[in-house]
Amino acid sequence: MSNSKNDNTKTSFWDKLKDSPSTDEFMKGIWKDNPVFVQVLGMCPVLAVTNTAENALAMGLATAFVLLMSNVLVSVLRNFIPKQVRIASYILIIASFVTITDYVIQAISIDLHKSLGAFISLIVVNCLILSRAEAFASKNTIGKSVLDALGMGVGFVFALLCLGGVRELLGNGTLFSYSVFPEGFQEWIIMILPAGGFFTLAIWLIFFNFRNQRKATV
């Protein structure tokens, strides 16, 4: 950056940030390799608890926390775990963090725990977490694994919010429980029903397909 002129310092800084591998590690999860919209992983929680934005956010954060912690631990122990028992160890680690998350959420709010129900425990079988542990954290340094987990986690939260926001907005006329529309707004109850989950995700996927195709043709 030192040899760059003053007027384009900023651009080159951004360029550098953009080109730096660590940013790439982080950003890929949010957009290019978004776990939900691109990789279509971890569908159960994505659909089941996104009937309100609040639930979606809580679920996203819980998943991101488990993802981050298990990525860190897997990465730390990557040279210690023999290959043969690696999947079993990953599951053990993930299950432990999920149990921890479950108790922490109960301690924070019983109501939140009630509305998320058994789906907190089901984070264990979220393919996203196991696949990150297996595909990334077991082969990379702690720093990189943290970045990867953060990126994927943020991407996951983002995707859940996209779904939960739309569903709550249309289905209940609110966003994070704040009324958004004027009095007398007709709620589209289908959006908070299971079918609405399927449809909303389908529409987001169609939107992403549409974008990609437009890009490809341009």
């Binding site: 992983l41 299950a95 479950d102 079918a195 399927f198 389908a202 169609i206």
Partner: protein, 194 residues
């Protein structure tokens, strides 16, 4: 615990609160292996089988954990039991019927991370079901899972050669179909109430 109440548990798990269409459990295999009828049927059978076994195990474990006062081990022991059940079933099937093993081969390991199995174990614990009720619940959930899978597979096979718009093709189309099926299954709600 009457025959009628067991029937209600079955209907509820199979139709009214279908694991795939109402609880979104087991969506990954639902999206993955529902392209062909044949694989869908086999996957359904395998899942139902593992569900029945792990449901019984989960009942025992829950009782044991309550007895020794360690509820915090519930999740870990469930997942370990499910993983080892799958492993055992795999070994058993391999020995007893190699033909069946070849047919189910790739699906069995997948079942470990099928949330429907763990979900079943957790739900039956939360609902406080007894041993017989748990088995009926597992049978209903398995039947419902298989039903949803087979229905989708048939529709997907039929859609294979149609001119589906490019933007909809793939996962989005399966999700749309699943959404419509989920709406159609709403017709069952209220069944098995009284």
């Amino acid at each position: 615990m009457t025959v009628a109440s067991l029937g209600n548990i079955f209907i509820s798990a199979c139709l009214v609160n279908n694991f795939v269409l109402a609880y979104f459990l087991g969506i990954c295999p639902f999206l993955g292996v529902s392209g062909k009828m044949e694989t869908a049927t086999k996957m359904g059978g395998a899942v139902t089988f593992v569900m029945l076994i792990s449901s019984m195990c989960a009942y025992g474990i829950h009782a044991l954990l309550i007895a020794i006062g360690a509820p915090f081990l519930q999740l870990i022991s469930y997942i370990v039991v499910i993983a080892s059940t799958v492993q055992l079933v795999e070994m058993f099937v391999k020995k007893m019927s190699p033909a069946l093993f070849r047919a189910l081969g790739i699906f069995l390991p997948l079942i470990t991370t099928n949330c429907a199995i763990l979900g079943l174990a957790l739900f039956q614990t939360n609902k406080g079901y007894g041993f017989v009720e748990s088995i009926v619940y597992a049978a209903g959930a398995g039947a419902g899972f298989t039903l949803a899978l087979i229905l989708i597979a048939g529709l997907r096979e039929q859609l294979e050669f149609s001119e589906v718009p490019k933007v909809v093709k793939g996962t989005a189309l399966v999700l749309l179909t699943a959404g419509i099926l989920s709406l159609a299954f709403m017709g069952f709600s209220g069944l098995g109430g009284k």
